[in-house]
Symmetry: C2
Amino acid sequence: MAAKPRRKSDAPDASDRVSRIREGVTAAILEHRLLPGTKLGEDEIGEIYGASRTLVRTALQQLAHEGIVNIEKNRGAFVARPTPADAREVFEARRLIEPTIVDHAIDAVTPDWIDRLQQHLAEEREAELRGDARASVRLSGEFHRLVAEMSGHSIYLGFLKELIARSSLIILLYRRHDTPACGTDHHAGIVAAIRKRDKQAARAQMLSHLDEIEAELFLKDPVPDELRLADVLGA
Amino acid sequence: MAAKPRRKSDAPDASDRVSRIREGVTAAILEHRLLPGTKLGEDEIGEIYGASRTLVRTALQQLAHEGIVNIEKNRGAFVARPTPADAREVFEARRLIEPTIVDHAIDAVTPDWIDRLQQHLAEEREAELRGDARASVRLSGEFHRLVAEMSGHSIYLGFLKELIARSSLIILLYRRHDTPACGTDHHAGIVAAIRKRDKQAARAQMLSHLDEIEAELFLKDPVPDELRLADVLGA
DNA sequence: CGGGCGAGGATTGTATAAACTTTCGCCTGT
DNA sequence: ACAGGCGAAAGTTTATACAATCCTCGCCCG
């Protein structure tokens, strides 16, 4: 690399380059651009983000800890491929945690938050209308994250982030039909219950929402796929 | 301690040098040898374990992700100092998760597991009799981890490992009395319920156990302490 | 013709060195 | 004497070089 414009603190908001790598790869996985089993070579990613292997390695280790990347010793990093057993565990955990999260969200509700939720619903509807499956998948997960942020419980939020990321992989692997109508109405119903501060209804709707997602899965055998790699990462 | 009795190879990755560092520091924190706010210099730890800073850094990043170490940019790594708000979140999460874990443990119970639990209870009693506060604290946490391993749910296990480690710091910071009698009898009661496959009793006892631990805490103000560093790490 | 085996290439694991940031002591000016 | 700033030292962050390991592919032997 001959002349790379290396000014000091060149990017104003990119205070942490590791985070940018991590979030870039995470987004690619959550939008189903990176498929389970894909190899994530260190040089490859480093080239894309203009970073050295040290930083890429740090980001990959964080993703491994979040459960969406597997690191095999002396082999490299791969997008995780959850087994059906993993899938059942993830959704059981979500059924346990998310109703409680909604409870706390209702305790912490403010008009400002209602606005953010409604705005998010609008984005979801628009993406669905536009037929943008990738944005739909991403926004669908972000809805749950938003509710968790609203609850103000950082521990639940951290746990849920992991669960959502894994869920995205699970849905990609085990979905029966590619019906992209994955519950925007459910989300609207949950928001309505939050707005009315009706905890019981909110919990019930969250639970049935999760049940429905899991019901659409076919958790029988692990799918053996080999899939193409990622120049799809828009750095 | 003359010879270290650390020969259990329960973790298959224990041969990894990063894991050895991570587990060594974790053990030091869980046994209250490393106190909240203590600076964990990279050179310092690397010297102790005969490893280069690269490996130390990897281990510290993992610990940061587990929430028991804070990494401040350009400043270094420090043992985490949970706030009272953190403490409330941790114990709420434990009250949510652990009763469910016990349920699953009962579903997966075998005579072999009962043996392991009873043996653990014996170790706890012995340490308490011996007045070994450090071993007591560590074993008390390990009991909960053991039940989670028994349940066979890797996700709950991962979550609980984090919660236990944070709990240890919380107890150290906010305990009212230094009463080391922290519920070996409770643990025995839980084991008895598991043995009888009585889910309702097991859940109830786990819940009251956690309540009692939290009731002994004084969650008012964050304690502002500066504490000595660690040549206490017996590598 | 099929299967085992070994050399070469590629990729990861580890260590070391360079660059930047913060900290703290010390010196000067008022 | 005290406040403020300059400078060196310590420590962290990043990059690069080196070592170890694994995979591939061609070759040789049965």
